[in-house]
């Protein structure tokens, strides 16, 4: 009799447990989905070079239920300045960060400020292997592809074979770079130089000032040592190069560059630049969010690197269907 009583009490307790669990699950399901918030910190956030990147971020945020906060920033003067913004965002309750390091960061101030488990670097310029996940193009490959396009005028496919390019004369190449102390830029330059040396082209000079010069500086450089081809490895330098072409179309050598801003797309469209190597920044932004979402979900410490593809844009393929989608992701 007593045993039956205990069994009944046990049964009632089990039923209560089922009711409690089901109610909890129901409330959890019926509640609004939990959105996490991620802050994106890039240098000069209003620049049009971030349009595609930002679109990718927003698409990723939509897919992964993440609120993307694109922090308004000016041009960072130092890593400390960017680290301060990172700290502020963390204080404001950001669940994760997507950061584009503003430049060389030897002191470690920036990297120390990063919350490693919930941070992804969208890398355009960093001096060493970061301790957090990175999403970046294969800089060496991109430099090599740009160099190939510069000396051959042919699309550099991913399946290109190494070695000298057989068609066309050996040409004098002037290279414009960003800050070569940064690892990505150094890799990009190395890729370009290796290809150019293999192809037999002559690198007449390599120009990488600390700050973005104007077209006159480039003019001086060319006056000093003329080049048949100018190869720019950075978006801002590609603009400078195009500005120079506009100003002195007659004297301007053949221009090839790396970039992704709308201004440089226009430069291609208008014919000032012959070819432009464009990393798929939409893809980059999207994968930054996906990568960060995985980390926020699993807190995995495993480093993951998503190589960002790139395309070579010329005036001929600018309005191809796939190219349009990549270059103009935003419908105005």
């Amino acid at each position: 009799m007593k045993r039956n009583k205990y069994l009944q009490i046990l049964l009632i307790l089990v039923i209560f447990a089922v009711i409690a669990y089901s109610s909890w699950r129901m409330l959890k399901i019926s509640g609004s989905p939990e959105y996490r918030s991620v802050s994106v910190i890039v240098d000069n956030s209003t620049s049009d070079r971030w349009i595609a990147f930002r679109e990718g971020l927003e698409q990723g945020g939509q897919e992964e239920q993440i609120n993307i906060s694109f922090v308004s920033t000016d041009v960072f003067k130092s890593a400390e300045e960017e680290a301060a913004v990172i700290r502020k965002e963390l204080e404001n309750g950001a669940d994760g960060l997507i950061v584009e390091p503003c430049g060389e960061e030897e002191s470690g101030v920036l990297l120390n400020a990063l919350p490693q488990p919930s941070c992804v670097l969208a890398v355009f310029g960093i001096s060493s292997d970061p301790p957090v996940d990175t999403v970046q193009p294969d800089w060496y490959e991109m430099g090599a592809a740009a160099a190939r396009e510069a000396v051959t005028g042919q699309n550099a496919s991913e399946n290109r074979e190494p070695g000298p390019v057989s068609n066309g004369p050996v040409r004098r190449v002037g290279i414009l770079t960003g800050d070569i102390k940064l690892k990505d830029m150094a890799l990009c330059l190395k890729g370009a130089e290796d290809f150019l040396l293999d192809s037999g082209a002559e690198i007449v000079w390599t120009y990488g000032p600390d700050s973005v010069p104007d077209s006159r500086a480039l003019s001086d450089k060319l006056s000093e040592k003329p080049a048949d081809v100018l190869l720019s490895l950075e978006d801002a330098m590609t603009k400078v190069m195009a500005d120079y072409a506009r100003e002195t179309p007659a004297k301007c050598p053949d221009l090839t560059g790396i970039g992704c801003s709308e201004q440089n797309i226009t430069n291609i469209d208008e014919g000032w630049i012959r070819a432009l190597v464009v990393p798929d920044e939409y893809y980059m932004g999207y994968h930054c969010v996906i990568s960060l979402s995985r980390k926020l979900g699993t807190y995995s410490a495993v480093k993951e690197t998503e190589p960002v593809p790139f395309v070579i844009v010329t005036k001929d393929n600018l309005y191809d269907e796939d190219m349009e989608s990549l270059l103009f992701p935003v419908v105005r």
Partner: protein
């Protein structure tokens, strides 16, 4: 060894049975209800999808109709009426553009033959490098002159925009008749619709957070709008548009990329475009999860209520039975005066009453048995006492002594023989049941002795059916009656006048023995009292009353047997003995000795 089965209480059985039946019924109903609800929800979802598509298609058609009107207005109201050699189209184009500039990017008209621009708005600076004749919208308009042609979305590549903007457009082109210098020629009218209007319209539809979405494709299945178009371009996701284009305007369930989903298609008028609504079944199922948990809660709560209700109900229903059981248990424990519960339902109350009656009867029976045993013991004792009545023995022996002293040796021998026979039968090896023959012999021995003692003052005759001799009788029945007859009847009779008659005959299955004397008798009331135990005065005699004989007969043979007295004052008295006609044999004797008269 077989495990001992421990019985379960009726309340538990009842409670469990009710609960089990209720649970089975409830689960069955819940399953049925859930299935119905799921089907209905799916139907509602399907209807909602189709309704959403219909409304969106109406908006889309409205937008496209407006664009066609712009084209029609431009063609029929402007181009057809103008000679382009003298007049330009700019002013009218500007008006139309301004009126629709939120939906339009540009309006342009080209000569078919040369691809030269006849007029454009808002920008008319044509890119040098662009050949319109190679553009798809131009080729389509030239190939099918009667129709409007809607291109896929693309970035407009016609004009040098000083603002360096790149606009996504859908080109609406048609072949038109132009007039220049009075000569008719063909041209192509282009209305570049703002693609963002369509994107905006469809983005508003795509706010479903459960995973459902809407996309738009042309008649060949090429995507015009898709909320994840860039991801499709990147290869991150895939869409089943090439198969969906073959679906009719209806809802279909398909499996794509291993996932089931519901696809509703609606064709946009005139363009052949198809608007597609995709709802993953997973999203639908996740919507049903809430319902599933709600059902679980309802079932659990109902189960709880049922268990508690069953507990209370079974407690109330079985309470009378349990109380009755407690009464039985108390009785079983030896309480001869248990408090028997009488109540509850009709059946239980009946059981209670029956039990109470049974207990009462049992108690009465026990009392009776006790009394009976006591009576038996007493009567046996009295019978034994009668066997060794010291007065009788003394008187008889005294008579024998006198006979010997009086040298009446033959009489003395006769007397001793009679006494020996009497005692032999009296003892009967301890038996209580003897044959009537023996009983008669015993009676004869007795009266023979008494007659000698009374010097033959009375006569005794025996007239018994010899067929009765071999029937059973309780021993020493006749002797006390004869003793009474002698002491109370013959005492006052003159010599030779006293008469005692012993008769025996059958009456049906019964045997009747009668002892009749012609003594003074007694009043009827006194005779009646002889058998009630009230008349126990033994002035003389062996001290064994008729009542003792009467009781002994009833104890052995039943209440319907025994003595009855018929008294006639001054005329004598008859004592009638009624016995069952039981043959005297070993089995019957054993049964009757053991008190199991019912089995005889």
């Amino acid at each position: 060894m077989k495990p001992e089965h421990k019985p379960v209480s009726i309340q538990i059985i009842m409670s469990l049975s009710f609960t089990a039946v209720a649970v089975i019924l409830m689960l069955f109903l819940s399953f049925l209800l859930y299935s119905q609800f799921e089907n209905r929800s799916r139907e509602i979802s399907r209807e909602a999808s189709e309704q959403l598509l219909s409304q969106t298609v109406i908006s889309l058609e409205d937008y496209l109709r407006n664009m066609r009107r712009v084209s029609d207005s431009m063609y029929y109201a402007v181009i057809k009426r103008k000679d382009l050699a003298d007049e330009d189209l700019r002013e009218e184009m500007d008006i139309l553009y301004e009126a629709n500039k939120d939906k339009l990017v540009s309006i342009a008209c080209y000569y078919s033959e040369t691809g030269e621009l006849a007029g454009a708005c808002p920008i008319s600076a044509v890119k040098d490098s662009v050949s319109v004749k190679d553009q798809t919208w131009f080729i389509q308009a030239e190939e099918e002159v009667e129709n409007f042609h809607f291109s896929l979305p693309h970035v407009q590549n016609l004009f040098n925009d000083p603002s360096q903007r790149y606009n996504w457009v859908i080109s609406l082109s048609r072949s038109v008749d132009l007039t220049r210098d009075g000569a008719a020629m063909r041209g192509v009218l282009l209305v570049d619709m703002n693609y963002s209007s369509i994107v905006h319209l469809l983005d508003q539809v795509n706010t479903d957070l459960t995973g459902g979405y809407v996309y738009l494709m042309d008649a060949d299945g090429k995507l015009i709008y898709h909320p994840r178009k860039s991801l499709i371009r990147m290869g991150e996701v895939k869409e089943n548009n090439l198969l969906a284009v073959s679906y009719g305007d209806q809802s279909t369930e398909e499996v794509f990329e291993g996932k089931r989903r519901m696809v509703a298609v609606k064709t946009v008028g005139y363009t052949g475009w198809k608007l597609v609504r995709v709802v993953p079944m997973e999203a639908f199922r996740s919507g049903m999860i809430t319902t599933r948990y709600l059902m679980i809660i309802l079932v659990a709560v109902s189960l709880l209520v049922i268990i508690l209700t069953n507990r209370v109900l079974s407690d109330r229903i079985t309470m009378p039975l349990r109380k009755l059981n407690e009464s039985v248990a108390s009785w079983e424990a030896g309480n001869m005066y248990p408090d028997i519960y009488i109540g509850g339902s009709l059946e239980v109350e009946h059981l209670g009453r029956t039990l109470a009656s049974t207990v009462e009867q049992s108690r009465q029976l026990m009392d009776d048995i006790v009394v009976e045993q006591e009576e038996k013991r007493k009567s046996e004792l009295e019978a034994l006492q009668s066997q060794i009545n010291p007065h009788f023995l003394y008187n008889t022996l005294d008579s024998i002594l006198w006979m010997i002293q009086g040298e009446r040796y033959d009489d003395a021998v006769y007397m001793i023989k009679q006494l020996a026979s009497l005692f032999r039968i009296s003892l009967s090896r301890g038996k209580t049941i003897i044959s009537i023959g023996d009983e008669l012999k015993h009676a004869q021995n007795y009266v023979n002795i008494q007659r000698i003692r009374y010097k033959n003052r009375f006569e005794v005759s025996f007239d018994v059916d010899p067929g009765m001799y071999s029937c059973c009788i309780v021993k020493l029945v006749l002797q006390p009656i004869l003793e009474n007859a002698i002491y109370y009847g013959m005492e006052y009779m003159d010599d030779g006048e006293g008469r005692i008659k012993v008769c025996g005959h059958r009456e049906g299955d019964n045997l009747v023995l009668e002892v009749t004397d012609n003594g003074p008798g007694m009043p009827e009331e006194a005779a009646a009292r002889l058998l009630t135990g009230e008349e126990r005065e033994h002035a003389k005699g062996s001290g064994v009353g008729l009542i003792n004989v009467h009781n002994r007969i009833r104890l052995r043979f039943g209440d319907q047997y025994g003595l009855s007295c018929v008294a006639h004052p001054d005329e004598g008295m008859t004592v009638r003995i009624c016995l069952p006609g039981i043959p005297y044999n070993k089995e019957n004797c054993s049964m009757l000795e053991a008190g199991r008269r019912g089995q005889v």
